[in-house]
Structures are given as structure tokens and as C-alpha cells.
Amino acid sequence: MLATAALGLMTVFPLVWMLVISLKPASDVFTPSLIPEQPTLGNFLYVLTEVPFLRYLFNSFFVSATVTVAALFFHSMAGYSLARLRFPGRDILFLAMFSTFLVSLPVIIVPLFILTRTLHMLDSYAGLIIPAIFNAFGIFLLRQYYLSLPRELEEAAIMDGASYWRIYWSIILPLSRPILSALAILFFLANWNAFLWPLTITSDLNLWVVQVAIANFKSQYAAAWNYVMAASTIVAVPMLVLFVIFQRQIMESIKTSGLK
């Protein structure tokens, strides 16, 4: 138990250190004391007055939430179909869809950019949201989950002549609650933390997300670690607070949904 506690503390130490530095004045950044001698909120005040972080937080939140909801909806449909309905070419289609998981963004960013431009989505929320929705990983996890559900669940419904949509909507979806909430967190996190794509397609400062803003802040204030850490804390805190509030649900749902 002691070893576990020590490991846990070591794990969160970098995050604690971020907070510690964000409370220190510039002159104390490299002093090794864990408790700031003259704690100050000045760094946060400075950062919040210099940079419209609230606007960027809103953008991040809006984009991440929209992507998450849309992605969960589409992926659960696809996962249901790929796991529980029979049609020719199913395994090939699944393999093809899964193989897109192997393609990372830097590899396709130029063609994707051209495509987004052709669809008139540069510098818009649509451009931030739509390409981010489609993700094979989510489909894969949902398919795995649906494969593990017993077949009898829907057989009775099919006998009764219920449509597949009905089965999906009133039998499958309610059963997916744990995995959907687990995935919601993972998707939200992934989008909240996305950097390269938002950077590439937005020029309008009003569309910046927090990760772009923090990168910009860093390149302007590389020397001012106290400000950089305060800004980092501001960017990290919404996620950490959500996490602390919902941590039991988050943990349980990820654990019991049987991601495997």
C-alpha cells in the first residue's frame, strides 16, 4: 500500500509541480521548494487579462462536445451493424474501416486540408468538427462490446417484427450506456487536447482552441515559466475538475465496459 501510494504521488508530481510554479513569482521558478514562499495569484491574473483564454476555452468545449456526441451516435450505429447484422463483405468492410486507425494525421494532412478547403470548411467550426468525428478506434471498441452481448437479446424483438432501428434504439443503445460514457470521456479528452488540425485550418483568432492558444503563449513567453505554467494550469484545470467530480463514474464505466 505504501508502495502504491508512493507510485501514485510520483505520477501526479509533474502536475503538482505545474501548479506550484504557477503560484510562484518569476524569481522563484528554479528554487526547489514545493511550497511557494510567497504564493501569488498574480500569474493567473496576468494570463487571464493578457489572453482571452475564456473564449478559447469555449471554442474547445463547443468543438469537443459536438464531436463527441456525433461520434458516439455514428460509431454506435456502425458498431451495431458490424457486430450483430449479417451482410456480405462485412469482415472486409470492418478491416477496411479499422485500417484507417493506422493512418495518423501528419501523414494525410495536406490532402485533408485540400479536401476541407474544397468543402468550404476552412476557418470554420465545421472544419474543426466534421473531420474529427470519424475515428476507427471508437468503432472498433463499440464493435467489440456489441460482439459480447448475448444473441437472445434481439431475437425476440426480431420475431415480433421490430425494425432494426427499433432494436438499435430501444435495446442496443440503452445497453451501451457504460461503454458510451467511457468513450464520451475518451473522445472529449482527445478533442480537447487536439492541436495540429485546429492549428492548420484556423487563421481567425476567434476560432482558436486552447491548445493553439497555449502553444502561442509558450512561443511568446518561453522565458516566463510562471506565466506559462499558469496558462497550462488554466488549460488543464477544466479537464482535471471534471475528472475529480466524475472520477468514480469515469473509472467504473471504462473498467466495466470491458474495452478489450
Binding site: F30, L93, G161, S163, Y164, M229, A236, M251
Partner: protein, 313 residues
């Protein structure tokens, strides 16, 4: 005519209209997959195919294209930097994948029992995941500043003085592996917790009655029954190590591939060729090869696990 037929199953109409049950199921299935299949095709498939096509051209980055056939692929063969990137990628994956497996499983075993203390601990182990890599990289950079960063100040206490964890080409990759494990292990811990939970407690009780110790139980019950989870963890962490966006972000922000190319993994080299040198054709060829290699690995995994079902043997 077809559109009308296809609507019926999903719209909830009766199975009339002359469709057999089989056809009904088939059309419904297609409709359900359609949005995602289309989205993936448009936003990943098409760009990937374009990228594959571009790999046969010499591109100047400003709209100039010249067909060179397999020229870009031949260039790889004689490009020492390509081979050194492959080596770094392999070294990184060889260190990261087992380390993540061990860390994930180890932590999961450590906090397996459900109680309040373990709940707090699980959260602590998962916490790094909640922070973006831009922020993570910044924090680690600060801690690793030579001489005065907190890690550099603490290093002499464990007998390591005067080392530069990011500046020494013999250490930089190792340091990045450690930071990657720190960042990613919480996710894999949760997956292992899920897997452990599926193992019926009776197995352990029976083993105990037979006089098996914890080590024996681990080898003969836990590990074999975790096979599906293990497959998943290995595949996902391998893809993450070789082509993952998170790994890219981390290396890009922390070392930019240096010192002396010692952390220049293949995705970093591809990125540099494309965006610093404007050699999009060459970069696309390397990217295509990387995706192909991963595809082979995946197909192998799928064959091994009978279509990714990861069933128990």
C-alpha cells in the same frame, strides 16, 4: 427504386414490400454503417489514397508534380536518415510496448481490489491522461532544465549527476520512453482492470485450494485468461508507438528529433521531409510504406485472433 427499399427496415416499416428477411437485414446493416463508412472514406480513405498516389511523384510543395514511378521508394533504400529513423522507431517501440504492458498490468494488479484507497490511486495513475501533450511537454521541459530543473536537482540524490536527460543522444530516447509511459500507462491500467474483472473469482479460489501461490495463479490463470486484453493492448500500444499522434506531439515539442537525430522516429522524419523540405512526394511514399507495414501487422493480429474477436481459447 432502391432508395425506397432501403428506407423500409430502418424506418420501421413492416417487412412487406417483397423483401426477404435476409435482404432486410442486409439493407439495414448498410444504412447503419453508411455515415461512418462515408465519413472515414472521405476524411481518411481519400486523403490516404491521394497520399499513396503522391508517393509516385516528385513534388516541390508549390503545385509542381513530376512522375517518378518508384523513384521515391528507391531513394529510401539509399537514404541513411530513413534507415536511422526506422531504427529509432523500432527501438522506441521495443522499449515502449513492453513497458506499457508491464506498467499497465502492474498498476492494474496493484489497485485491483475495490476500495476507497485504490479508487484514489487509480485516479492518480490516470491523471496524466487528462492533460494535453502540449502542456505535458512544457512541464517536463521545465523539470528537465539542466542543472536547476527539479529533476536535475534531484538526480544527484540517486547518484546521477551532471547528466542531460534530453541533451544526451544516448539518453534522450530513453527519457522520452519514460515520459510516454508516464503519460499513457493510466489508460492501459484501466483496460487491464476491465480484463481482470472478467476472470471469475472461483478460478483463484480453486487454485488456492490446490495450494497454488500468487505467482502460480498469475502464470496459470491471470495471464492466459488475459489473452484477449493482452492482444488488444499490444496492438493498440504498438500502433500508438509507431504512428500515434500523441507520440508525435510529445517528441515534436520536447526534442524535435534531436539531439543528433537520436529521437527522430519515422513520423518525425516524414513530417520534416514534408513540411521543412517541401518533399511531399518522398514523405508520402514513406508514409504509405509505414501504413502498409502497420496493416500487415494488423492483418496478422486479426488472423491470430480470428477476426479481432479476441475470444477465449
Amino acid at each position: 427504386m432502391h432508395a425506397d427499399e432501403m428506407k423500409s427496415p430502418a424506418a420501421g416499416a413492416k417487412s412487406a414490400r417483397g423483401l426477404t428477411a435476409k435482404q432486410r437485414e442486409r439493407y439495414a446493416a448498410w444504412l447503419f454503417v453508411l455515415p461512418d463508412a462515408l465519413g472515414l472514406l472521405v476524411f481518411v480513405g481519400v486523403p490516404m489514397l491521394l497520399s499513396l498516389a503522391v508517393g509516385f511523384f516528385e513534388v516541390n510543395g508549390f503545385g509542381g508534380y513530376r512522375f517518378v514511378g518508384l523513384g521515391n521508394y528507391r531513394r529510401m533504400w539509399s537514404d541513411p536518415l530513413f534507415w536511422s529513423s526506422v531504427k529509432v522507431t523500432v527501438a522506441y517501440a521495443v522499449m515502449l510496448v513492453p513497458a506499457l504492458y508491464a506498467a499497465g498490468l502492474g498498476l492494474a494488479l496493484l489497485v485491483q481490489k475495490t476500495n476507497r484507497f485504490n479508487a484514489v490511486m487509480r485516479s492518480m495513475f490516470f491523471a496524466p491522461q487528462m492533460v494535453s501533450l502540449v502542456v505535458v511537454a512544457l512541464v517536463w521541459q521545465l523539470m528537465l532544465v539542466e542543472k536547476v530543473g527539479i529533476v536535475s536537482r534531484l538526480a544527484p540524490l540517486v547518484g546521477l549527476s551532471g547528466i542531460s536527460l534530453l541533451g544526451d543522444p544516448n539518453l534522450a530516447l530513453f527519457t522520452l520512453v519514460l515520459v510516454s509511459v508516464w503519460f499513457l500507462m493510466g489508460f492501459y491500467m484501466l483496460i487491464f482492470l476491465g480484463g481482470l474483472q472478467d476472470i471469475p473469482a472461483e478460478y483463484y479460489e480453486a487454485a488456492k485450494i490446490d495450494g497454488a501461490g500468487p505467482v502460480t495463479s498469475f502464470w496459470y490463470i491471470t495471464l492466459p485468461l488475459l489473452k484477449p486484453t493482452s492482444f488488444f493492448v499490444l496492438l493498440v500500444s504498438l500502433v500508438a508507438a509507431v504512428a500515434g499522434g500523441q507520440v508525435f506531439d510529445l517528441i515534436y515539442v520536447m526534442t524535435k528529433g534531436g539531439p543528433v537525430n537520436s529521437t527522430s522516429v519515422l513520423i518525425i522524419y516524414i513530417y520534416k521531409q514534408a513540411f521543412q523540405f517541401g518533399a511531399f512526394g518522398y514523405a508520402s511514399a514513406m508514409a504509405s510504406l509505414l501504413v502498409l507495414a502497420l496493416m500487415l501487422v494488423t492483418v496478422f493480429f486479426f488472423l491470430l485472433t480470428r477476426g479481432g474477436r479476441f475470444e477465449h481459447d
